[in-house]
């Protein structure tokens, strides 16, 4: 007695009901737009791997035109910002230890002689190595070309290996961050929304009535996630719009592949959230479980650290996470204008992932009260 029309009507009924919940629940509704807005503005501007303006102190024991030019040139790189002056290397160390500054420049009395004899380094930079990113950036200053009495710019030494940056010649971090944020925001909101979808029915006492109706598991699952597919695409549009307006993210190629990729990724996260919802007993547990997935997604997917530089075991774990595959695809599509055909493997993973989790959720959901 299966009637496809009744089936579609039931899916539409669940879908419509979820939309009404969404509109009534101001907090959730606000999250739809506010999370992408705030996160993008906040992290788009702040996550920056270009290290600038590291507070530094200087102990200049030479104190002549030579040493002053060295300080000025270092300041001109914008990596260091000299904010304090001391006498001895020991005082520099104390300042770093206290956290007043993160680097200290010591110029010995014989710096000028050292320069002209060309045997030993002319000065020493003490760096707070407890922050590795910062330490790495300041360390690069050891290759800093210093030419007393002249300006540096017209005297570029020939690089041993010339590096050419493709796709992001200005080395803007936001170019790398924004597509990543797109993935992180979608992971966060999509999993969160659906992870509470089933459990909320239970908590609000609607479950007993709902499961006493002839609705089928798959109809309920599909009806539950469908509205959020729309929500997800709205979020994608918000992020893309802001990305283009605020950060000049170039969308190489057309928007169609970008939306296709996002759609598949949204499905993967929604079904994952749905699965969580069939596992847990209350909304709090659903939230905790969502974060349990969100954190490794952020750390291991290649959003924070380059994927290729991670240890093998971390890479294997990351391969299970939808975000890893999404980042690979979206960066390719958005920044490099790669055609979707070249990224079929990752897209296929996301599709199969969605399907598997939809099936698991459908099987796991029981129309019984036990």
């Amino acid at each position: 007695m299966y009637s496809p029309v009744s089936s579609i009507v039931r899916i539409a009924a669940v879908c419509g009901k979820e939309m009404i919940h969404l509109v009534h629940d101001r907090l959730t509704f606000g999250m739809v737009v506010m999370i992408p807005l705030f996160q993008l503005i906040l992290f788009g501007y702040t996550i920056n791997t270009d290290v600038r303006n590291v507070p530094a102190a200087v102990a200049d024991n030479l104190n002549n035109s030579f040493s002053r030019q060295l300080i000025m040139d270092l300041q001109a790189t914008q990596v260091l910002d000299f904010v304090a002056v001391t006498e001895t290397p020991q005082q520099l160390e104390t300042l770093i230890q206290r956290g007043t500054v993160s680097a200290g420049l010591y110029i010995p009395m014989d710096a000028e002689q050292r320069y002209y004899s060309g045997e030993r380094s002319i000065a020493q930079l003490l760096v707070d190595g407890s922050d590795t990113t910062l330490g790495g950036a300041v360390r690069q200053l050891s290759r800093f070309p210093f030419l007393p009495g002249g300006t540096i710019s017209n005297m570029d030494s020939v690089e041993q290996i010339s590096v050419r940056l493709l796709y992001n010649p200005e080395r803007r971090a936001s170019l790398f961050t924004v597509p990543g944020l797109l993935g992180v925001i979608l992971t966060m909101t999509m999993i969160m929304f659906t992870s509470i979808a089933i459990v909320r029915e239970r908590e609000r006492g609607n479950m007993e009535l709902l499961i006493a109706t002839p609705i089928k598991n798959l109809e309920l699952m599909v009806g539950k996630i469908t509205p959020y597919v729309g929500i997800g695409l709205v979020q994608v549009s918000v992020i893309l719009f802001l990305g283009v307006m605020l950060f000049d993210i170039p969308v190489v190629g057309s928007f169609f592949p970008v939306y296709t990729v996002c759609l598949i990724f949204i499905l993967a996260n929604l079904t994952l959230g749905l699965m969580i919802s069939t596992l847990v007993r209350n909304q709090l547990a659903a939230m905790q479980m969502s974060f349990f997935i969100l954190l490794p997604s952020i750390l291991l997917s290649g959003f924070m650290f380059p994927f290729v530089a991670m240890p093998k075991i971390a890479q294997y774990i990351a391969e299970i996470l939808p975000l890893t595959h999404f980042l690979r695809v979206i960066r390719g599509v958005m920044l490099r204008g790669e055609p979707l055909t070249g990224l079929v493997g990752d897209l296929l993973f996301l599709l199969v992932f969605s399907l598997i989790f939809l099936v698991i959720s459908t099987l796991r959901f029981s129309k019984r009260l036990e």
């Binding site: 007695m1 009637s3 009744s6 009507v9 039931r10 539409a12 009924a13 669940v14 419509g16 009901k17 009404i20 919940h21 009534h24 629940d25 609000r204 006492g205 609607n206 479950m207 007993e208 009535l209 709902l210 499961i211 006493a212 109706t213 002839p214 609705i215 089928k216 129309k367 019984r368 009260l369 036990e370």
Partner: protein
């Protein structure tokens, strides 16, 4: 004629606790069948098994000629279920709730809106269509739940304490509706712990600690009580009660206003004046009254009499 519900040896255990114990029951068509029992007697568990929400530990259930669990989904298309706790969506309006339930139950297209407005009018909800269900009063919520439960014109209605937290007037209207639906052809199983409601049912089953302890029509149950009911008035009711507690023939005593209601086991050999003689020194005034369903209930649930007779 086939019974609407046929249950044999139905048992449900939660761990070591037996909620429903070897329940046998037959509910004929077009009846209002009452499930009477104290809280925790297994009424809700039994009704949940009948709509396939709980898996029985043992026993068979056949609803509308179909077996549970094999045919649960088909059965659900013809059964209306009203939960004990309000389980409509509080943030949806009355109308939205009705539309949702209609579509889920397979009532859609042109027939839907007509059916919904009929029901809303019949259950006096037509002036609240745009109110959110959560803001309705207790009685209105119950009426909405019932209206939603019958949206698909079910052949069988399972109502789990439908009138709890409802004032007597609303309750009476509610029961009038139940009888109208019954006359129109529906069979109704309703659980209650209220005696006046039990009295209205065509048939009754009394449940106690998971077991069925009595069943029949209210008239039959009262006629086959096997006990007589006396109302005793006197200057010292408390002393009379204390005295009667030690008399083995007295099954139960209960204060009822100024008088004492006494249930005495029927014994043909006894003289009519037996009780009067027993209470001679208390200057008691004794009159025999007709038994009520409450008396039936008290006797049927004897083993936990302290819990029900206060």
């Amino acid at each position: 004629m086939n019974p609407v519900i046929q249950v044999t040896g139905l048992t449900k255990k939660f761990g070591s606790f037996t909620a429903v114990d070897r329940l046998d029951m037959t509910i004929p068509k077009q009846q209002v069948y009452g499930f009477l029992g104290p809280n925790g007697s297994g009424k809700t568990t039994a009704i949940r098994m009948m709509c396939g929400l709980l898996q029985p530990t043992d026993g068979q259930i056949e609803v509308l000629g179909m077996k549970i669990p094999e045919k649960t989904e088909q059965i659900r298309l013809q059964v209306g279920y009203m939960t004990q706790k309000f389980s409509m969506y509080g943030d949806l309006t009355v109308l939205q709730n009705m539309q949702f339930m209609a579509r889920i139950m397979g009532v859609y297209g042109r027939s839907m809106n007509g059916r919904i407005s009929d029901l809303l009018e019949r259950f006096k909800l037509d002036s609240f269509t745009r109110r959110s269900a959560g803001s309705l009063s207790g009685g209105q919520k119950r009426r909405l739940a019932l209206a939603a439960a019958v949206i698909h014109e079910p052949k069988l209605l399972l109502l789990d304490e439908p009138t709890s937290e409802v004032d007597p007037n609303t309750r009476r209207e509610f029961w009038d509706e139940l009888f109208l639906m019954c006359e129109a052809g529906a069979t109704i199983l309703v659980t209650t712990h209220l005696m006046d409601e039990a009295e209205r049912c065509h048939q009754l089953a009394i449940l106690n600690e998971g077991k069925k302890v009595a069943d029949g029509s209210p008239q039959e149950l009262k006629a086959n009580l096997g006990a007589q009911i006396f109302l005793i008035n006197g200057p010292d009711i408390a002393a009379i009660r204390e005295h009667l507690r030690s008399v083995p023939e007295v099954l139960a005593t209960a204060r009822s206003g100024l008088s004492l209601r006494v249930i005495v086991k029927t014994d043909e050999a006894r003289t009519e004046n037996w009780l009067w003689e027993k209470l001679l020194r208390y200057e008691a005034d004794i009159s025999q009254v007709a038994p009520s369903i409450e008396d039936v209930f008290v006797i049927a649930t004897q083993n936990n009499i302290d819990k029900v007779s206060h």
